[in-house]
Every structure is written in structure tokens, then in C-alpha cells.
Symmetry: D2
Subunit: 363 residues, 4 copies
């Protein structure tokens, strides 16, 4: 059976996207299917030159690289009101043109790789009669519908590597170093990266903190003979008492005077009055966390997701999304998957492990 399928990557990029693409292409090749890739997320569905054929040749060696050879975007005609998480409906004209494109290219099914917002779009396309298969992408690991997703392990590895670097200079100068990492609503990257990188304190959106307790933690370390302190702060970390810190429009962006700077400032006020006792420095990882080659885990996850997406097409299970559960790649309805966020439970084992070894959450 000769079939043509489409594929696209949508939303913020993360390591593993190319692994999914290669997984789709290699699996399709064994079935003698043709694969059309759309450029720049859903936008490629509307542009005249918005697509390219993906082959074994032009996807060779891409699994090992970050980014996405198809390009991606957070903007455009498919973003509904309310931003990438918007609940608005797609413009009917956009849906009609999408169908036209797919018909013209004889594409019988479309694999969409994207986050929460992109999957909502996929669901609408499915409801409009398009044979869609979703592949979840969340570098923050905050989708309830899948236990693991590619990109997360690579982002954590980037944080861990940064902490390894910062430890040596922090110790040499007996400094406090604050490192701001991704995580608007869920603190998984901060939690995993902080634990693996040997942080002394971790500030999460899920566990409200106070500056006084944080300052206590720094002083307690000093007293016990540890003159340097490394603090990992998720960009969405929240103060106890409801004060909000998060004000960025987009995860992973470098922002002027983000929460890292604020924490540095507040800590400075509490520790270095009346006189300087401890130098404080800040580091914002920003886009470094999105880049780089994927880790082994993310290559395996991405590839497995791509293979499963093609399997689902072969089985005709449209409107479904690939999902990792209990060490297996399964499928769940897209509809039931979107809008349910997975956050760090404050009483979970990993938080308890952190506390057991003396990591402070500033609470």
C-alpha cells in the first residue's frame, strides 16, 4: 500500500524533535510510505513552499542533533486567543486551507509534535475531520498525559553541567551563586537538576518559599563549615504568602531582571547588612537549556514516539496521542490529554530525598 503522511513540529524547540522525525521516516520507509514535512510548525500547512519530502537520506544523522530540521514557531495562524495555551477556536478559513493542502499533497494522516497548545490545535483539526496523531513535547515535563517526554532529560543535563561548573568557582570564592532555570508552572527541571547538580537550595513554583528562610539556609551552611551555597531557582518560583514572581511571556526566554536577580537582591539585603559578608552572583541559563545534542534517554524516547505515531496511523487510531506510561509507549485520546498539568507534589519521594540530604526549599 502506497501512502503519504505528513509531519510537523510546533512550539518551542527541544532536544529530541529530530529523533521523532527520524523515527517517523525510518518506520514509514519500511512500509514504503512517503513522508512530507511541514516547515515552521502548523504555518507550513498554509504556505506554498511550506513543505519538503523527508527521506532516509536527508534525515540521516539528525537524531543526534538538537533543534528541528523542519523549523518551528510559537506564533502564527494556528495560535488561538490567549496565547499558546489559548482555548479559542481555529479560524474556519485556516482549517479549510489546511484540508486543501493535505488533499493536494494526498496526505492521508498528519503527525503533530507539540506541547499543550499545539495538541489543542491537533484536537480541533481531528474534530474537523483530519486524521491526526499527536506526539507530546514538553521540555518542562509538565504534561499529565505522559510520564516522560523527550527534551526534559537533556534540559536537566544542561542544568547539572552548569552546576558542576558553578561549584568550582563558588567554592574558590566562597560565594552564593543563584542559577535561574526553566519551569514556569512546574519545577521538575529545578528539582532534578538541583538534586543531580548538588544544589544546596531549590526554589520551585510548587513549594512557596520565604527569603528569611533562604537566608537562614545560607547562614546555616556557613556555620557548618560550607562557605559556598548554590541555589537553583525555577523561573516560576513563588513566595509564600501569595506574592508572584513570574512575569515572563515565554518559558526559556532570557528576561531582564528575572527572578534570579530578585532572589540575589533580596538575599543580599538579608545577608550583607550592615556589611558585605558574602558575595552573591546570578546566572540565567535561558536558551542554553533548549539547545545541545539530546541525551541517550531523549534519543530513545523521541525515536520510540516517532515509531509509535506511525504504528497508530497503520492501525487507523486517529485522534490519539502517543504517551509513555509504566515503561511502555502507549496511546491516549488527545482530547483527554490536553490541559492537565503534572506538577511536583510537595510530599513526593524526590522532595523527601532532597530534604533528607539537607537541601533547603526555602520553606
Amino acid at each position: 500500500m502506497n501512502k503519504t503522511i505528513g509531519v510537523l513540529t510546533s512550539g518551542g524547540d527541544c532536544p529530541g524533535l529530530n529523533a521523532v522525525l527520524r523515527g517517523v521516516v525510518c518506520t514509514a520507509a519500511k512500509l514504503d510510505w512517503k513522508v512530507i514535512g511541514f516547515r515552521d510548525g502548523y504555518e507550513g500547512l498554509l504556505a506554498d513552499d511550506g513543505h519538503m519530502e523527508l527521506t532516509l537520506q536527508n534525515t540521516e544523522g539528525i537524531m543526534q542533533r538538537g533543534g528541528t530540521i523542519l523549523g518551528t514557531t510559537n506564533r502564527g495562524h494556528f495560535v488561538r486567543k490567549g496565547g499558546s495555551g489559548g482555548r479559542g477556536r481555529l479560524d474556519p478559513v485556516v482549517i479549510a486551507r489546511t484540508k486543501e493542502t493535505l488533499a493536494r499533497l494526498r496526505i492521508s494522516a498528519l503527525v503533530t509534535i507539540g506541547g499543550d497548545g499545539s495538541l489543542s490545535t491537533s484536537q480541533q483539526l481531528f474534530e474537523a475531520g483530519i486524521n491526526v496523531i499527536g506526539v507530546p513535547k514538553t521540555i518542562d515535563n509538565d504534561l499529565e498525559a505522559t510520564e516522560s517526554s523527550f527534551g526534559f532529560d537533556s534540559a536537566v543535563a544542561c542544568v547539572t553541567d552548569a552546576l558542576d561548573r558553578l561549584h568550582t568557582t563558588a567554592r574558590a570564592h566562597k560565594r552564593v551563586i543563584i542559577i535561574e532555570v526553566m519551569g514556569r508552572h512546574a519545577g521538575w527541571i529545578a528539582l532534578h537538576g538541583g538534586l543531580a547538580g548538588g544544589a544546596d537550595a531549590i526554589l520551585l513554583p510548587e513549594i512557596p518559599f520565604s527569603y528569611d528562610r533562604l537566608a537562614d539556609a545560607v547562614r546555616a551552611r556557613e556555620k557548618s563549615g560550607h562557605p559556598s551555597t548554590i541555589i537553583v531557582v525555577a523561573e516560576g518560583a513563588r513566595l509564600a504568602g501569595g506574592r508572584e514572581h513570574y512575569h515572563a511571556a515565554q518559558s526559556g526566554e532570557y528576561r531582564l531582571g528575572g527572578i534570579g536577580e530578585t532572589v540575589a537582591h533580596e538575599l543580599d539585603r538579608r545577608i550583607n547588612r550592615p556589611r558585605l559578608t558574602k558575595e552573591i552572583r546570578t546566572c540565567v541559563l535561558g536558551h542554553l537549556q533548549r539547545g545541545g545534542d539530546p541525551t541517550t534517554l531523549d534519543r530513545i524516547l523521541g525515536t520510540s514516539f516517532g515509531v509509535k505515531a506511525v504504528d497508530l496511523i497503520a492501525e487507523g487510531k486517529f485522534g490519539q496521542m502517543v504517551s509513555y506510561q509504566h515503561s511502555q509507549v502507549l496511546n491516549v485520546p488527545i482530547a483527554s490529554a490536553v490541559r492537565r498539568q503534572k506538577i511536583v507534589q510537595t510530599d513526593c519521594q524526590m522532595v523527601a530525598t532532597c530534604r533528607a540530604i539537607g537541601i533547603s526549599f526555602g520553606d
Copy 2:
């Protein structure tokens, strides 16, 4: 309550051992317990100068490093007949001296970190009345009693990194490159490393292969426009028809003329007769796989195991072993845990994923 506990690392080293040690020490420190580390595996229990106190100070920064600051060994008085996997009984004199040492140092519980053979020893010590807690260590990931164990992800990362290096040179010269990796009885490292590293063929102990099919795979790649081929072979890979290749005494050792060389030779006979058409090269990773800094995953697993071991002591649950199951660190009886190996199921999803994207198992 002031308590003293002991800890030791036994068997082949792997990344993450130091993370366990630091996890034990930090958790004990919060409880005001003293930790005594024994040197060179169980042997430290017999030597006069076989121990050292482990403190927050001398374990600072060790989580991030491979190896074990306590030293370890595969040999000595605690290795029973039949090698590390031997089923013999410990010498009663050895047990008596062990008890003496623990009594002299007022050690009320002992954490043993080791593989299958070491855990059998732990079980015997427990049966002899010693308060033992086991922590599983298997770089090969082949213990049934725990879904994951530290060291494995780091070993796989080493294989993946090696494959990334070999791809560029293989392509430049259009060569076949064979890379021999750890895995005597279970092919997990070859399977994960091969998939993540973009191998074209993977040979495992669990899936018997034939040289003719392997040669077919190389020729098929050539025909489809891929002039280079990367083959990952586990040291315990087996030929269909029962012929055995494995003949090393110790996993991870570099062996003269191991299976990698044999595969190269047999492939050469099949491909390069009557004339050379394809250069073949071999690479044996050996001990490189055991060394290096642990990955984020192995640091987290190792730390969590160390914390759990102290928790189990606090709860008095002796004769138990730490175990990772369904995303949780739990405990299981040591007795039920040893001797049950976890091997690659030939019909598992990961093998199917490999086949789907065109990886050959030589079968």
C-alpha cells in the same frame, strides 16, 4: 539517639557509587548518626586499617565523580566458591571476625552496596545475625529485583558518545565499524546504546545471530546508498545454533581477541572475498564504560538509594534491599532478590522499535 552505621561498596565499580555514599552520609548526618566506611569491599571488615569515618566534609563533591572513594574489589575472603556468582557458604571464621569488627566499632547496622554476588554475601551475613541493608549495583541493569540501577545510564551514555565519534570516521571512509560493549548475559547496554547511538545492527546475548544475516544487512545498506555500517556487539552475544562466543571471566575487561574481533573476522570472510570491498574496523570500549562522571539520572538514583538505605535502618527493616519499582524507591527482601536475572525479552517494545527503524539483530 546516637548511632553508628557502616557502609561498603563491593564488586566492579560503576558511576553512582559515590552518590550512594554521600546519600547515606548526608541522611545520617541529619539524624546525628556516625558513618564508618569500610575499604575495598567486604575486605575492609577484616583489616585492622580497613575503615575510615565518612563525614559531610570528606564526602563533599563526591556525588559528581565516578568510582568509589572507599575502594572495591571482586576478590578476597568473601568471594565464595564459583566466583562472584558462587553459591557456596562464607567461612564461619570470616563471619565471626566481621561481627567482631562491627562490635568493636559499635556499628549497629551495615549498608552493603553490590551486585548479585555481593548481595548473596549480605544475605548470609543477615542470616548470621548482622543488621544488613542491601543496595543493588549492576551496571548491566540485569537484576530482576530492581527496574533501574545507577551506573547503567552512564555506561549507555559512554557507548552513545563512542558511537557519535565512530559515525563520522565510518562515513568518511565508508567503513564497517564494530564496537564491543559490556553485557555478558543481558544485552541492555548494547540495546540502549545502539538505539541511542544510531547503530545499524545490534548483537545481543538474548537474540542469537548468524554471520550470513549480518553480512546481508551490511550489503543491504550499501545497496540502499548507506556505505558505512556501525555494529554494536554485546560481549555475550551468541550465534544461532548454540555456538558460544563469550569466554571472559569478568565483565568490562578488555580481552585479547574478544567477540568484536571474531565478528570482524567472520564478516571480512563473507564480504571481502574474492576482493576487498569494505574495510572493517573494531573498537572495544572495555573499562571506559565504567569510568567517568555519573549522568544526572545515576546521581539521582544513587542518592535516592543511599537515603532509602538509611530510612530502612531507622525503621529497623533489616535483611531488606533497596529497589526501584514503578518510579518509586521501595524495599524487597534480599533473599528474594538475588539470583534472578532480568534479560531482554525478544518481543519487547524496544526491540520492536529497533526493528521498525531498520536496525538488524542479525537474526
Copy 3:
């Protein structure tokens, strides 16, 4: 002959300091000399508990690690008026106490590892009768007195690695990414890192730039089919026409709203009016550049410098500084070495190479 020598590390830390320390200790050990290390730069000379013996045992494995096991500081009693580059004289009391400490510990010669300011201090101590040997440290590579110095290659490697990460995400989103790196007065890190990392534009203190030309470069890339642009900017980059951007007190610090942000803002004004055509993101590497394990080159340079320092003591050549010239480690008088900066010549071969392959300097 039984001798005791002292050693200290001063100023900002950089990879390779521990290699120097180990080089000193190993060489001294072969001569049966004792080595005393002073903590926290020169400050250790004044504190009661400011020193520790350095031995083969406690320096084992340190060459491979960043930071300095002795600690260091940019502040304290030895910093003259005008900051680290101050030309003031040391307080005579401080000199007297230093001599006392050295006499009490029977230290016959002192190796000081530091930058420009620290070497000025060394020269004053030498003039006051102390047997000083200087070892130059400049992560920025901006000391005229030595062709190469340890730490620089590691800092450049950090920048290159960051660029590798940013390329994938920049391409995926067709963005402009600006990365701010160290280099207040000399642009060596930006130049080497930018060339090695495949930057499209590099802004240096030595080559004044204009925002209009920089915007032209971004547009020219777009037109020629390269929708993403990576710009490396040294923290001391200067605008043509004399406007200054640099305003940080300390190299390597993360600063709120540094030049990276300013460039992003000015570029945004020129490119994204009247409507957004290109997203712009900024990344500040900051202290990441100082941390991490030293590269092979920095380990070799650091070790060679440490060995040479002990050689100079053995030869009684005090007041001299180790220096790398024409592939050899030599010595030059400290007096002639300080205060002469090595900056990028605008007509040098490396700048010409950058221009030849199309890198813009915004001029």
C-alpha cells in the same frame, strides 16, 4: 637540602589553577621540599589558620578540576586603592605581618599565582625583600608578558559549547541570539569563541561597532537564505563614536541589563519596526566561563607553569615571572611584566580570517 616554599592563588578563579598547584607540589616533592599553601589569596598570609600543607596525597586528582583548592579572593588587605588594578602601595604593616608569617613557617620562597593586580602586589613584596616568583593568570588572555595563559582555552571552550547549543535553537526558530561573553578590555574570548562557535557577528572592545551596520548584517543574512543569526558580544564592546557600554566592576560577573541586553534592544528597534520580523534573544554566560574542568591545553600550561616556578626558586631567580613565549616556558622580570595589556590588533590575521569567511564586526 630541606626547604619549605609557599604558594597562593589570587584574584578571580579560572581553570588551571589547581594544575599549577599540583605542578608545584610534585616538583617540590622530587626535591624533598615541603609546600605550604595559603588560603584565600594573599589573605592567608595574615590569618592564623590561613595555611595548609600541600602534599602529593591531597593534591592527587586536582589537576583535572577547575577552581582552586586554596580558595582565592578579589578583596582584602592586599588590594590597593583603585581596585585590583590599583597602583597604590601596600600598607607597611601588611608587609611586616607577611614577613612574620613566612619567617614563622620557615618559608624561603613564595609562588604567587595571579593576574595583573596580584603581580603588582608580588613585585612590591619582592621589593620588600621577599623571595617571590610570579605565575601569570588571566582568563582573558590579556597580559602582554605571556603569549598564552591557562584558563583562556577553557573559557573559549565554554563559549564554543554554548554557541553549539544556541545554533540548534536559533535555527529552529529563525531567531537572532546574542551571547554576552567575558572581555572588558580585550576581546580574545569573543574572537576565538566566536570563530570556533560559528558566530555570524562578533563585537569586540578593539573594533568599535555601529548598530546600523549590525542590523545590516542580520538583514543581509536573511536575504541570502540564513534566517538565524548568532552574535557574540564581549562585555567591553564599544560603539563607534566613543560611546561606552562597559559598566561592570568585575569581569565575569552577571550584571543586570549588561551590554547583551542593550544590543538586543537596539537591534530590536532597528529590525522589528514597524512590525516584528525577527525574534531576538539574549544569553549571558557569566560565571559559567570560569567554571568547569580545564581543557588539555590548560592542564599542560598550568602544570608547566608550576614546574617552572619551582625551577626558578631552585635557581634563585626571584622577582621573576613565568611566561610562555615561542612555545617555551621562560621567565621575565615581574616588574617589566605588569601593566602591559595585550589587545586584539584590528589588522591581525585572525580578524582577517573572520572577515574572509563573512563574519561581521559591526563596523
Copy 4:
């Protein structure tokens, strides 16, 4: 002026080849020249489909990758009698066909990137009237005609990284680990990698060693409290008294029972009789040293060489070879450059540095 030039990569691959290619292409693009790349070394000059156009587009991002996108070979019609170092003359038919190809493609000059043997070929082509520019390639760093060459720093970094890995496992088990690295005639990789990686002994072709002295070094370490020993051995290391060890046809190949194994065996005989006192393990790095992404230095060197090659064409300086001397990229006649090898001088500063810190050369 519209011009077409050719370029090819010949001999064993090494990191930095793609940087040269990109340097050539980018520089040519600014001059509006067309670049034709020949595949598989000189062989591409004879094959009908042996070439491809190189453009800014298809060379984007290649600088950062090892290998060569053109392919290369050590075999074929251009290899003279006596192997890659053979002094024989090229077949006149081969020269005639080469000229034909160049004429047909209107190629006015040819850049050849290769080692000693390839440069000899280039010289013959130049003498036959072809406008050749040579670019030296030697991963072993053993060409007298250039102080530095790309690929070497990357190979050393690979060795250093391997030593970092082996140290942790060697210490954990108190073992002797022998690591065999490239270097048939010159020991630069072993010397630099051994020093940077913290080796305890280094065996070079240039400094004949004895097994008894090597065994002494291992015993001396044991006695001084260092139970593990790391020995780096160049594949061409030689025994004192003229006995030869080297017997491989090709640098970088993995060979059955190479010198690493021999050293292990001989050391075992001297140390472990009458009973085992120290486990010995061997590791052969082989092709891992050729692969991987180039270091910053190799990217800069490679790019600079490519730029210079085009400059030389623009100046009409044919028969010349690019060369790095005294921190500058210059040119020298190819004729004077070939056949002169650069080896380690036994009394050079780096060897003295190694001895000063206690590294044994087994002599």
C-alpha cells in the same frame, strides 16, 4: 572575476577537515568563486560522479562536525608503491585523466588536504602543470613543515577524556591500566594526552623503554601510597635495545594483540609472580581518537587553513602549502615540506616537565 576551484580531502580522516572545507567555501563565496568538491580523496578526480558543488548552504554547520563530508580514502589509484608514504611516481594515465576532469569542470586550481603521502601526490600533480595548493593534515602532529595542524588537539582531548574515565575505575580497584594511543613514529599524542590526563608513565617511540624500569615505576608508586597506575603507550613505542613493537599497517587501527596487550603481559610477568598482587587492564582507543567534534583550536586552525588556501590561489602561489609557524598561517613550498618528520626531542621542555612531576618514561 568568475572562477571555479576544486578541493578534496585525502588519507585518514581527522576532526577539522570540514572546517577547512567550510573555510574554503566561505572565502570563495565572498570572491564569487564556485567550489567543486571531489569525493573520496583523489579518487573523485577519476570517477564520473566523483564530485559535487560545495555551497554556503550545504556546508552550513559542518565546521562543528568531525569526519569529512567529501569522504576520503587511504587507497586507490593515487597511492604509489610503498603505501601512503611511497615514493613511486604516479601513473601518467592517472595524471592525464586528472587534467581532463579539471579541464571539463573548468577548474583553475585545486586545494588538496592531506598528509605526507597525499602532499607528495600534490607535488607531482603540480610538477605536471596543475595549479595545486596543499593543506597539511596530520592527526599525529608529526609534519616538520607546520608547527600545529588541526585534528591533533581533538585527538589529545579524546585521550585526556579517556584517562579521566580510567582514573576513577583504576583507583577504585587499585589497578594498573594501560591505554594504547595513536603515534607510530612520533609520540606527541601520548605525550600531550598523558601529561594532560595525569598519566603515571608514558611510553613513546622516541624514548626507548625497558619493562624492568616500568615495573619499578609501578612498584615505586605502590610503595609511596598510590596503589593505582595509569600507563599511556603510543602504538609505536620502542623497547630499549632495539626491539621493535610496532607492526600495524595503519595508524589508528585497532589491532589484535597490539603493544598495549604486550605491555600488559610483560608487566604481569614482572609484577604478579609468584602471586597476583596487582590486576592489570588494557584499553585501546583506536578510532575513537579520529572521531568526534573538533575542539575550538582545531576549528580555528582548520578554518584559517581553508581561508589561507584560497588566498594563495588568489595570489597565484601554486605549489605552495599552508603552514602554521610562530602563531601565523604562512606558506611554504610543498616540495620542501614532505618527508620531513617532526618527532619528540628527548630533551625538550615538555619531557622535562613530565619528569619533574614524576612521570616515568620507562627509561
